[in-house]
Amino acid sequence: MATLPSSQTDIELPATQQPVDVARARSPRRPATWVLSIITVVVAVQLLHLLLTNPNFEWDVVAQYLNSETVLQGVVMTLFLTVTAMTIGLVLGGILAVCRLSDNALLRALASSYIWFFRGTPQLVQLIFWFNIGLLVPVLSIGIPFGPTFASIESNTLVTPLLAAIVGLGLHDAAYQAEIYRAGLISVDEGQLEAAKALGMKPVRVFFRIQLPQAMRFIVPPTFNSIIALVKGTSLVSVIGGAELLFSVKEIYSQTYQTVPLLIVASIWYLFITTVLNGVQFFIERHYGRGSSRNGASSLVVRFLDRRAAERNLNRGMES
């Protein structure tokens, strides 16, 4: 057997020079993967067995209440609270983010103080606080500051659990959303803004046509994170008597004592809502991912959808 002369390591030459083609090579053996797969299957079967055979889940009760009127009203209230608080959060958060990035020191200070306060106190405390605003300001009135008033209303009449919930959830969400926007906006390359300015675009146009669309790629994932957190956060409203999903199932199990099945009912609905949101996120991310990579998308589903879209465009082009 010949060896190569080498100052460092001697390399053995193959004994025979049989031609070898690696094209049909098999995958390496991975015993650990097999063991792990078997354990996973066993645990999964066990879990399924538990779910199906443990009578304490009371699946018949779950089925009975899943579509009951009280639960559905709770679902509708949870969705309503989510949408209104989210809208306040998205709009007010946007204004706060723009203020924090503004050249105006007063606007910057105002936005920073807002975020400091609403991010720095617990959401539950804020909800209870808004619900009890009447203790701090018994009468709300509209008028000239330190002058005559035109109209006034008692706080306790105005601030229902619903209003307290919307305000409490929305203002808290805005503080977080502002930082999400800001993170996205400052991640856009300075050169992009300079190029837009050099083309003679005015500041508003630079913001909406160049900076924001590119920032969206970084804004969308954490925004859905916070929307999903908001869906679940609405359950805090049960504390101040807002009749959302958790409040509704609590109302039922406080009478029937079927705690576990009704909490499962609530969980199923929360999971359903967040699953739908996951789907929406997928499509929004795909929209803002345009031009972000050399080869287009990566996942199988995205590649399939993109091929469909490309075929549609082609067909449209041939018609016209």
């Binding site: 992009q192 190029a195 837009a196 050099a198 083309l199 003679g200 500041p203 345009r290 031009g291 050399r294």
Partner: protein
Amino acid sequence: MTPPVLRISGLRKQFSGVEVLKGIDLEVHVGETVAILGSSGSGKSTLLRCVNCLEVPSGGSIWLGDELMGYRQESGGTVRRLTESQIAVQRRKVGMVFQNFNLFPHWTVLQNIADGPRSILKLSKAEAIERSMTLLTRVGLADRANAYPRQLSGGQQQRVAIARALALEPAVLLFDEPTSALDPENVGEVTDVMAALAASGATMLVVTHELGFARAAADRVVFMDGGVILEQGTPTEVFDYSQEPRTREFMRKTLV
């Protein structure tokens, strides 16, 4: 000679106390191509960026035709800085090509070029597309109109960026080291487009390290060093017969 389209007088610029431009006087005439050379830190890019107000000068003045860039003279002699929106209107007469292309990645090549004519010059959609396609043909990329910038090579992106700057029919074109971010094999395609542009009578101010381009395409070469213009003249005067030791040293080091 025609009157200068761009007149820079006594231009000064400081960055946190450090003086980068120490009084620049430079005139550019219609149809002229001026190449600005100098080692890094000599202030060439800052000079260019002051022209379209991407930097705020510390002193001096820049006139584009009869307009004072970035400022307005009020009755009584007060000079007042313009708002960003007013500056945006002035910038439409100045095109700029950046070192890193800075094409908008979320828009196709065609959208990148057609947006200016469409939204700023208010052309119809058909006119904007027609103008864009003409320009793309001129830079040899008509077949890539629907590609996204990241799908193009650096040289192709820079040619698109040139077409985008031309789409607004600017009075002056600024090039900030347009080939410095390119692979050596892609430099030629960009300098060829620029040389053709210079030959067609465009008014260009080009900061570059491509001495070959400067010698072949520039009408005048300006050599900057330490924030001042050390000398200027025809390419032959500056490249071959410079009396300034600093210029000669730069040429010797760069040409090797």
